[in-house]
Structure formats: structure tokens, C-alpha cells
């Protein structure tokens, strides 16, 4: 098992740092560019949500990203100590809510936001959310292809 912990202050300008670092670590672990890009995107979406919603956009709080890899899977946790995700959003994250169907014919009814959780749901193999006394953990798991280099 290999593992790594990263932390940023709750400023959207910092999200790219953990996203890019995650991508680079994924490549080092043997994931191809496409999968590494998917995991980078999910980390960016989860960290952005933590800053915007758990911390209501307030600076000065910690957002952690913990990566751990075994032979079979990569687990990515995004952790905050702010307001837990509302149950409705937790359900959306765990079960999917708004599948990316054919877009509406009327452009005006096309939403500008609200795709982050569905992106995570679609790209990851398993997602869970644990809200405890100490923190909130969004746990995302991706199965690894046989040719990656975990040990």
C-alpha cells in the first residue's frame, strides 16, 4: 500500500495545486493520461465543493486530499471540517441524480451549474461520504488496470 496526504487552505486558487499533484501521482502510479485526468477532475470538483459549500467560501480552513493505492484500486479522500453535505446531495453523489441525458432543445433551460457531483458519480467506480464528529470525508475509489505499478 502506498499513500500520500496533501493539504490546502480553503481558497479556490489552491484547488489546482492538489488537482495537478494528484494527476502527477496517478501517472507515477502507472495510470494512463485519461484515467489520471479523470481522477484530477474528481479531486478538483470535490475540493471546490468543500470550499464553496462546507466552508461557504471562507478562507483559512483546511481541505485535505489523501491518496492510497493498492494493487487493485486507488482510493482518494477529500476531507473538510465544515458543514456536512446535505442529505439530498449525498444521495446524488452516491446514486447519481441527474444523468447527462440529451440536453434540452431549449438552450434557456440548460443549467450552468450542478454537474460536479454527477461527474464524480460517473467517473469513479465507488463513492462514499462519511460525516463524523471530526470531519467530512468524501471517499472515491477507482479500480486500477492490471498493468499499473503499485506495490
Amino acid at each position: 500500500m502506498k499513500s500520500l496526504g496533501l493539504g490546502i487552505e480553503s481558497d479556490l486558487g489552491n484547488v489546482n495545486l492538489v488537482a495537478v499533484a494528484t494527476n502527477r501521482v496517478c501517472r507515477e502510479l502507472g495510470l494512463d493520461e485519461s484515467r489520471a485526468g479523470q481522477i484530477e477532475l474528481c479531486v478538483a470538483e470535490a475540493a471546490t465543493n468543500a470550499i464553496r459549500h462546507a466552508y461557504q467560501g471562507q478562507p483559512g480552513h483546511l481541505v485535505e486530499v489523501r491518496l492510497s493505492a493498492s494493487h487493485e484500486e486507488l482510493q482518494v479522500e477529500v476531507i473538510d471540517r465544515g458543514t456536512p453535505m446535505p442529505l439530498k446531495h449525498q444521495q446524488a453523489l452516491l446514486k447519481g441524480s441527474k444523468p447527462f441525458d440529451v440536453p434540452p432543445a431549449d438552450l434557456r433551460s440548460l443549467a450552468e451549474g450542478g454537474r460536479g457531483l454527477q461527474i464524480i458519480f460517473e467517473l469513479m467506480d465507488k463513492v462514499s461520504y462519511v460525516s463524523g464528529e471530526a470531519n467530512n470525508r468524501l471517499i472515491m475509489t477507482k479500480r486500477l488496470p492490471a498493468n499499473s505499478t503499485m506495490s
Binding site: D11, L12, G13, V15, N16, A19, E33, S34, G37, Q38, E40, L41, A44, E45, T48, R52, F100, D101, V102, P103, L107, R108, L110, A111, E112, G113, R115, G116, I119, E122, L123
Partner: protein, 112 residues
């Protein structure tokens, strides 16, 4: 946000000079595109060839700009790399935006 602009007939081609269109820059990115539209650019081609990453907030800014330009205007995209194109496919936004390989292809489609 930095752009490199050139005009081909009545089409403004704006190349995004940032590598990432993410949540921290989504608002100024959308504002820059809306400013183009407010200033009378009704046919806009956005060259994404330097962009390596876009998140849902960046995508939202593009959707907002498409809505701002309306159905009598044109906002076409070109040069999307694989990771960016994959985001459009995942969210089905490849069915909403007109996407082309090169600026010339996009300009030709917008000029019609």
C-alpha cells in the same frame, strides 16, 4: 484571463491563453466572453488548443456565454484536446456546442 484575439471577416477568434479553466477563474472567464458579446461580437470562435483542463465551473461559464450570445449568434469551439473533449462528451455538452478541430473550420461554419 488572457486571450489572443484575431478577426476573420465578422468572426472574432479568441484563443484562451490559460491552461486551466477551473472554478477560481470561471467568473472572470465568463465575464470576458460576455464582454465580447456586449461589444457587438455576434460570431465568436473560442480556440481551446492551449487548455489542458476544464472543470464543471469552467463548463458552466461556457454554457452561460452560449446563453448570452443567444440563438441569433454563434459561439463555436475549436482545438479541444482529449481531456477537454472528454469533459464535453461526459456531460453531453458536445451535443450543445459546435466543436471543430481547427479555427479555420470553426470560422467557416460560423460564416455561413
Amino acid at each position: 484571463m488572457r486571450f489572443e484575439e484575431r478577426r476573420i471577416d465578422d468572426v472574432l477568434v479568441a484563443k484562451v491563453l490559460e491552461s486551466r479553466i477551473s472554478a477560481d477563474v470561471a467568473a472572470p472567464f465568463k465575464q470576458a466572453l460576455v464582454d465580447y458579446i456586449i461589444n457587438g461580437n455576434r460570431r465568436l470562435v473560442l480556440d481551446l488548443s492551449d487548455v489542458t483542463f476544464i472543470d464543471s465551473s469552467g463548463l458552466g461559464a461556457l454554457i452561460g456565454s452560449l446563453k448570452a450570445i443567444g440563438e441569433d449568434g454563434e459561439l463555436a469551439l475549436c482545438g479541444a484536446r482529449e481531456t477537454v473533449a472528454n469533459m464535453f462528451k461526459l456531460t453531453r455538452m458536445n451535443k450543445v456546442f459546435r466543436m471543430f478541430s481547427t479555427p479555420d473550420d470553426a470560422v467557416a461554419a460560423c460564416s455561413r
